[in-house]
Amino acid sequence: MVKIPTRILLVDDEVDFVEMLSMRLQEAGEKVTPAYNGEECLKLLEKQKDHIDVVILDIRMPGMDGIEVLREIKNRFPLIEVIMLTGHGTTESAVEGMKLGAFDYLLKPADFDELAQKLEGARERKDEQEARIRKAESRLLVRRTGGA
């Protein structure tokens, strides 16, 4: 069975990290778009919102931090799932992220297999959400056309 790639937006100010993780994820069959700060992430999502499934988001970044970016994502693109990645000392912000609707969080340096599992989980949740919406929309459509 051909694997359908998860479309990932990888956001981290650590250029080397983004480069290496992107290569690994792509090698594992995923499709990765890199971004190096929060503003760039939101701009990219604005343009490609229908082509991104999951955002891997670093919490501590210069400029807009991960939590602010997450809040924006969940406001503007609620279907896109977010996995928080933190090298930060406390899990406090990660937990805050979960409350804001992030799918999960990982502490750096994260285990690749664990990340892969979480990506799969996030992707499944997004697919389910979309399927549910489609179903609801078609029901609505049937009702409308039925009533016409």
């Binding site: 650590e14 080397d16 990290f17 290496m20 993780l21 290569m23 690994r24 090698e27 501590r60 090298g87 930060h88 000392g89 406390t90 899990t91 406090e92 937990v95 502490l107 750096k108 340096p109 994260a110 690749f112």
Partner: protein
């Protein structure tokens, strides 16, 4: 009622000793007697007193010499000299030698009683002063340690964060290389096993560094931790269960002294489990074959006391001050991170508790943790309660 005071009356005149001791005994004064200086010193060796009342003129060792020896060997004892009328100069010499005071014979009993009481007061005052100074010193040391640990903690966790990012890069790069090496086109790459060995070492190194940084991050985890009713006996059992295999393997006996708690404890069970596991694991590591680990749980006012006692190798006094510092370890490199007790202490501080360690090299160590029944109860309240236990 007047406080009982214990004295030694030294005089070579039997009748004087007899009469005075009998009359002093009626005034809440516990009197031992000796007929000369030598006997007095022998008695003091066996039976401590607070005040010595001694005649100056005695055959053999005189009162002044006795005073000198008492001051040399028992500096806390106060000495009152009894001199004859014509020998006031002896009294003066005695004062110079450290006597509390001197009285001229014939002694008026009330006067003697009052002098003995004053000497007793002085001793008690000195004892209180010393206790207070010791307490103050201990508090200052405690504060210094706390401040030092806080500073170290801030720095160490800052460093941990900075290290996690490069660690993540190293891990991803190593993972990438492993992936490439696994490709068909790389099957014939020369010295493949050397490359794989090096990759293994990189991955093990990253894992080791990660263990350190993540443990450090545990130290500063948020303090709005969970607060739920904690089943301490169950947590203790769980933690013991996790080290059971090693304990059985080493032939260590586990003794439980778990008393039913008077009131429930509300705290963070996950963090308490980590504390228990750290302390019990340390005890197992420190205890040799045939040793014993005792876990005590009991109620104290305002909270609970958990004690982990082992009959292990103990901690040398020069290490005691450092055991709660980050990265202090006596284990081999790679075996212990030196963060267990540091993190444990951090957790207990956040939960509003206290932790104290006592140890005798060769005999074992005792770690005593107190936790408040609820977070709001100040740890000082429990600490002061403990002192009275």
């Amino acid at each position: 009622m007047e406080e009982m005071i214990r004295i030694l009356l030294v005089d070579d005149e039997d009748s004087f000793r007899g009469t005075v001791s009998k009359r002093l005994s009626r005034r809440s004064i516990d009197v031992l007697t000796a007929a000369d200086g030598r006997e007095a010193l022998e008695l003091l060796d066996r039976d401590p007193v607070e005040v010595v009342v001694t005649d100056v003129k005695m055959p053999g060792m005189d009162g002044i010499e006795l005073l000198r020896q008492i001051k040399e060997n028992y500096p806390d004892i106060e000495v009152i000299l009894l001199t004859g009328h014509v020998a006031a100069s002896d009294g003066v010499e005695g004062i110079k030698g450290g006597a509390f005071d001197y009285l001229t014979k014939p002694v008026e009993l009330e006067h003697l009683v009052s002098k003995i009481r004053q000497a007793g007061e002085k001793i008690r005052w000195r004892r209180d002063q010393r206790k207070e100074a010791e307490f103050r010193k201990r508090m200052e040391q405690q504060m210094m340690i706390t401040e030092r640990l806080a500073a170290l903690g801030t720095m160490a966790t800052g460093v941990a964060h900075e290290i996690n990012n490069p660690l993540a890069i190293i891990r991803e790069s190593a993972g990438w290389m492993r992936l490439i090496l696994g490709k068909e086109e790389m099957a014939a790459v020369p010295r493949r096993s050397d490359l794989e060995l090096a990759l293994n070492k990189i991955e093990i190194g990253v894992e080791r560094a990660k263990r350190i940084t993540h443990q450090l991050l545990g130290f500063v985890q948020k303090d709005d931790a969970l607060s739920a009713e904690v089943d301490l006996p169950m947590l203790i059992e769980e933690s013991l269960g996790m080290v059971k295999r090693e304990a059985v393997h080493k032939g260590i006996e586990i003794v439980r002294d778990i008393q039913p708690l008077e009131k429930p404890v509300y705290s963070d069970p996950y963090q308490i489990r980590q504390v228990l596991l750290n302390l019990i694991t340390n005890a197992v590591h420190a205890t040799g074959g045939g040793g014993r680990i005792t876990v005590v749980l009991k109620s104290v006012q305002g909270g609970v006391l958990i004690q982990i006692r082992d009959t292990g190798e103990g901690i040398p006094p020069e290490h005691m001050r450092k055991i709660f510092e980050p990265f202090f370890t006596t284990k081999c490199p790679g075996k212990g991170t030196g963060l267990g007790l540091f993190v444990t202490r951090g957790i207990i501080d956040r939960l509003g508790g206290t932790i104290e360690a006592e140890s005798r090299p060769g005999e074992g160590s005792v770690f005593t943790v107190t936790l408040p029944r609820r977070h709001e109860i100040r740890k000082n309240d429990i600490a002061s309660e403990l002192n009275t236990c």
